[in-house]
Subunit: 360 residues, 2 copies
Amino acid sequence: MNRIHLAVDAMGGDFAPKVIIEGVINSLRKANLEYQNDLSVTLVGDEAKILSYLEKHSDIRKQIKIHHTDQAIPMDAKPKDAIIKFPKASMIEAAKLVANKEADALISAGNTGALVLSSAQQIPRIKGVHRTALAAVYPTKNELKRRDRFSLILDVGANVFVESEHLVHFALMGAAYAKEIKNIELPTVALLNMGAESNKGGERYTNAYEILSSLPDLNFIGNIEGNDLMRGVADVVVTEGFIGNIAIKTMEGAAETVMGLGKYAFKKNFIWKMGLIFLSSGIKGLKRITDYQEYGGAPILGLERLVLKCHGKSTSLAIENALTLTIKAVRDDLTGNMQRAISAFENEFTRPEFDKVPGY
Amino acid sequence: MNRIHLAVDAMGGDFAPKVIIEGVINSLRKANLEYQNDLSVTLVGDEAKILSYLEKHSDIRKQIKIHHTDQAIPMDAKPKDAIIKFPKASMIEAAKLVANKEADALISAGNTGALVLSSAQQIPRIKGVHRTALAAVYPTKNELKRRDRFSLILDVGANVFVESEHLVHFALMGAAYAKEIKNIELPTVALLNMGAESNKGGERYTNAYEILSSLPDLNFIGNIEGNDLMRGVADVVVTEGFIGNIAIKTMEGAAETVMGLGKYAFKKNFIWKMGLIFLSSGIKGLKRITDYQEYGGAPILGLERLVLKCHGKSTSLAIENALTLTIKAVRDDLTGNMQRAISAFENEFTRPEFDKVPGY
C-alpha cells in the first residue's frame, strides 16, 4: 500500500498536548504491525513541549515529524474571531499541510467551530459539494440488532439551514462514511423530519425525500422522527445544521437529566438507596454505553481530505481510536468514494425535472 | 363571575367516550364548590353512548348539554383527509360551537393534527396573529427551583418553518399562557437556538433575538441550546414547528431509551437484579415525574378562544385536570390577555427599522 501521512493538531483539546501525543504513539505502535511502518504523523504545535513527550519513544520517533507553531486556539474562543487572531494556530497550520497534500487527513480535538472554519477555508471541497457537514456519532438502543449500537447524524452545525440538494449530498457522504466505519455494504439512511409521511416538512424536505427515494445505490428508508433517533432505526440520519445541533444536544441533555432524576429519586428512600448501591456497577456500565465520545471522533465531510474532530475531553485512548479509524479511511480511499458518489449523483440527476429543487 | 361554558369532544382519545365523560363529571363536581354552578359543558358526540355514561349522575346532569353527531375522526387518520371525510366529526362540531360563541373553549383528546386544522379553520385568529402554535409541556430537572418542574415549548408542529415576527408572537402568547398556568408574573422566555450567542442561527433568529430583547414586558433570557431544554432554565421555550417537533420527540425518545437501557443493563446480573427489585417503586416515582401527559394538556395558541389538546391516552384524571385548567384560563381571560399583548407589540414595534424583518 501507499504511505499514509496524518497531520495531528497537538495543541487541541482539554488535555493537550499530553494525551494527543500518547494517543499518536500508541496508534502508530499498533498500526505498524499491520502497515509495516508505512505510516507517519506530523504533530503540529509547540516543538519544545512536543519533544518533551517524545523523549522515551525513540523506537517510533522516525515516524513522527514536528511542525512548530507557538499559536493555538483556546477551546472556548469564538471561532470567527479566533481564526483571525491566531492565523498560525496549530489547527490552521495542520489544515494547510493537508491542503498542500503534505498530509492525507487531519485530526484535532480542538475548538469545534474553529476547526470547521479552518478546514473549510484551507481544504478544497469535493467537486460538486457546496456545503461541508459536521457529523456526530450517537448511541442507540439498537432495536434492529445492527452490528453496532451507534448511528451517524449529519449535519450537526457546520451550516444553519440548507437546500434539498445539500441534504442529498449529506446522505451520500454519510452513507460512504458509515460504510467505511461500520463495515456494512449498504447502510440505512433516513431523513429526520416532523412526521413519517413523505409529504412532511415543507418543499425542501419533500424534494429531498423524492430525490433520495430515486437513488438506486442508496438504502433510503424514508423519514424518521425525533423519537426514532435513539431507537437506532437508521445507520445514517440526514438533517440540516440547526436541527441536527438541537437534536444531538437534546439527546445529551435528556440522557443526563433522566440519569440524574433517577439518582435524585433513589436518594430519597433507604430501600432505594440500598438498591442504588447494588446497582452502582450497573450504572457505570450504563454510562459507558452512553459515552459516545469514545467512538473515535466526528468527521467533517465534504472536503477532499478527511478531517476528524475528537471530543475536547478525549483521552489518549480516544485519540488512538481516532487515528486508527482515520488510517483505515485513508487506506480505503473514503474521500475518493465520496467524490465518486457525488459525481455519479450530479451526472445522473441534474435533469430538467429537478429544476424545481431549490439550489439547482 | 360570568357563566363559563366549555365544548368537549366526547369521542376523541383512545378511551373515549368513557374517560372523557368521567373527567368532565369529576371536574364539574369539584369546580361547583368554587364557581357555584355557573359552569356548563356541551359534550359533542354520539348521544346514545354519551347518555349511557351520564345515567348515574343526575346531580350534575343539568350542567351538561349534548350536541349529537355520529361522526368522529379516527386517532390514526391523516388529518387533511380526515377533516374532509368527516365534516361533522365531533371535534369539528365542537370547534364550530366555540366559533359561534356558544362555548368559551374547546377540549379534545382526539387526533392532534386534525384538531389543529379544525380549530384553525373554524375559530378566528387573534387580531395581528398570522400563525397559530401548538404548545407542549415537558418535565425538567428544574435547576433554578422554580415553582414547578415543567416548561412550555412552542411551536411543536402547527407550522413547519416561520418568520422572525411569528417567533415573537409565539413568545408573547407562550408567556401569557405560562403566566396563567404557573401563576408567575414574569415567566422567563428563551429562544431555542444552535448556540447561546445572539448572532447564532441565521437572520430569522438574530432578528427575533433583537426584537425579543427590546420588549419591556417580556422576561427574555436569550438563546438556549438543546441540552438546556431539560435543565429547565426557561419557563417558555420559543421555536418553530419543525424544530419544536424534533426537540419534544427527541426528549421523549431519549428519556425512554435511557430508562430502557438501564433496565437492560440491570437484568444482566443477579446483584443488579436485586437492586432493581429494591428500586421498583423508585422507578415508578421516576416514571410519574417524567409523565408529562398528566399536566392537563397542550394548548393551541393564537386563536380567539383557547383550544386544549389532551393526550390520546388521557385518563379521566387527565381530562379533569384539563377542564380545571381551562376553566381557570377562561375565568382569567387568557385569550384577552394574549390579544392585548399582541396588540401592544404590533402598535409599538411596527416601525421602519423593523422593515428588514422577514414577514413584515
